[in-house]
């Protein structure tokens, strides 16, 4: 076994794959939400080009936080979560496995279809590439923040709406830097400072959030 907790990764992947259509619902949500804007704004290329990156980013943000509410509820309901709390595997490692697979099924698809939506908003090739790059850096942070919200609301009935309220304010910096990078490019300014800040946020999230999510799960179940 190459990965120390490969069995946990494989389990998460298997569960996602066996419910593939359910697992890809966030992607459908993202596409539907982003498509509504050109329809509402009308076929003016200049207006579309102006709002495009912001709309795509806001839709990605909403998708990540609105569809994550029940990420732990199945494991909590069938007793797997309590077994994880007292298992030989550190809870943080299990959370990290869960987060990786969660991002692969919800964050990564958004990055892959964003160029397609870019066409819909008449964005230039350079803008589309930069937009995808910012999403690649930003969506893992959104996934982790979403899981933190899900962990804090395990067992609550209004989990989904609470998660949105809890996580949206925390996710705003990601949205700001993601959009600023693309608008900097459009204004002929370098986008690298914003990309660096997004990268810094990503590193911070990778280091700090898995243990925080594990602690939140312990609190929610204790």
């Amino acid at each position: 076994m190459a990965l120390p907790y490969g069995f946990a990764l494989r389990r998460e992947w298997r569960l996602r794959r066996r419910r593939a259509s359910e697992s890809l619902l966030p992607l459908a949500f993202f596409l539907a939400a982003a498509t509504a804007f050109p329809i509402a704004i009308g076929p003016d290329p200049t207006a579309l080009r102006q709002v495009g990156p912001g709309v795509i980013w806001a839709c990605a943000l909403l998708t990540c936080v609105a569809t994550v509410g029940h990420a732990f509820s199945v494991d909590a309901g069938d007793g797997v979560l309590e077994q994880c709390l007292i298992s030989a595997v550190p809870l943080t490692a299990w959370v990290a496995c869960k987060a990786v697979v969660h991002w692969l099924w919800t964050g990564l698809p958004l990055v892959l279809v964003a160029p397609l939506l870019g066409l819909m908003f008449d964005l230039s090739a350079a803008s589309v590439a930069l937009l995808a790059a910012t999403l690649l850096l930003g969506t893992p942070v959104l996934s982790l923040l979403g899981l933190l919200g899900a962990a804090l609301t395990v067992g609550l009935r209004a989990a989904s709406s609470l998660v949105v309220l809890l996580v949206l304010p925390l996710a705003l910096p990601v949205l700001v830097f993601g959009c600023l990078a693309v608008s900097a490019l459009d204004a002929g300014l370098p986008a690298t400072p914003h990309l660096s800040l997004l990268g810094a946020l990503l590193l911070l999230a990778i280091v700090a959030l898995p243990p925080t999510i594990a602690a939140a799960l312990r609190t929610s179940l204790g």
């Binding site: 797997v80 077994q83 298992s87």
Partner: protein
């Protein structure tokens, strides 16, 4: 001095509870409980519904904090520890911890690995076979009956025979007489290999247990000593 300490620790029971009180909603569930469970013995926790059997087991498993009192463990190597953990301790609760979208074998393999137990295909097959699940290895858990799910969860016991401690919450639930017999045999085998087990059950187990621990509701003096935060009549 060291030799004397070792001798003392050798006489120490695997689990010693001293004046343990578990609480739910700030109220004590039973009178202070003192109990020794030696290596290789079986302890049956009894009590009426709501007596605190599940809470006691969850506290021992490390899922809940004890209200008052002390829990002292000695692991298989006779080292004292405050918290016994997997793979030395195995807790099987009311919930079977099986995901419906996994096959019987995948679900069991995950639980075994999660608790640091080797799970090669041969031993998994043997464990499932022993619980009468031969031929169901590839079936998805959600297609199983309650009894078959319980059997799958209990198959972990075959993989952990002789582990220092099993904590089982109503292990006989949903089992038919044949499976109950298998569980009885597993408990005997476990004890013979030096493993201890503490289990709660409302049915009389088919094995001779070494001790029975009856959970009694707290005595009135203790109850009146605590000020109730609210009363149902108000």
């Amino acid at each position: 001095m060291n030799a004397a300490q070792a001798a003392v620790s050798h006489d120490m029971p695997r689990l010693r509870l001293t004046g343990l009180v578990c609480e739910r909603g700030g109220r004590p569930l039973f009178d202070p409980l003192s109990l020794d469970v030696a290596a290789g013995t079986l302890c049956w926790i009894r009590g009426v519904n709501g007596a605190g059997k599940t809470t006691l087991l969850r506290t021992l498993a490390g899922l809940l904090m004890a209200g008052v009192g002390r829990i002292a463990w000695h692991d298989g190597d006779d080292r004292a520890t405050r918290h016994l953990r997997a793979p030395a301790l195995h807790y099987i609760g009311h919930l079977n911890a099986l995901n419906g979208d996994l096959s019987v074998r995948e679900a069991l393999a995950f639980l075994a690995r999660l608790h640091g137990v080797a799970a090669d295909p041969a031993s998994l097959r043997a464990a499932l076979h022993q619980l009468g699940l031969a031929g169901l290895e590839r079936r998805l858990v959600r297609t199983l009956s309650q009894g078959q799910r319980r059997r799958t969860a209990l198959a972990r016991l075959v993989l952990t025979l002789g582990a220092p401690m099993w904590l089982l919450d109503e292990p006989y639930d949903a089992l038919d007489s044949e499976a109950s017999g298998v569980l009885d045999a597993l408990l005997v085998q476990h004890a013979q290999r030096g493993g201890s087990a503490v289990f709660a059950s409302h049915v009389t187990p088919g094995v001779a247990v070494d001790q029975i621990c009856m959970l009694e509701p707290p005595s009135p003096s203790v109850e009146s000593g605590a000020t109730p935060r609210w009363s149902p009549a108000a």
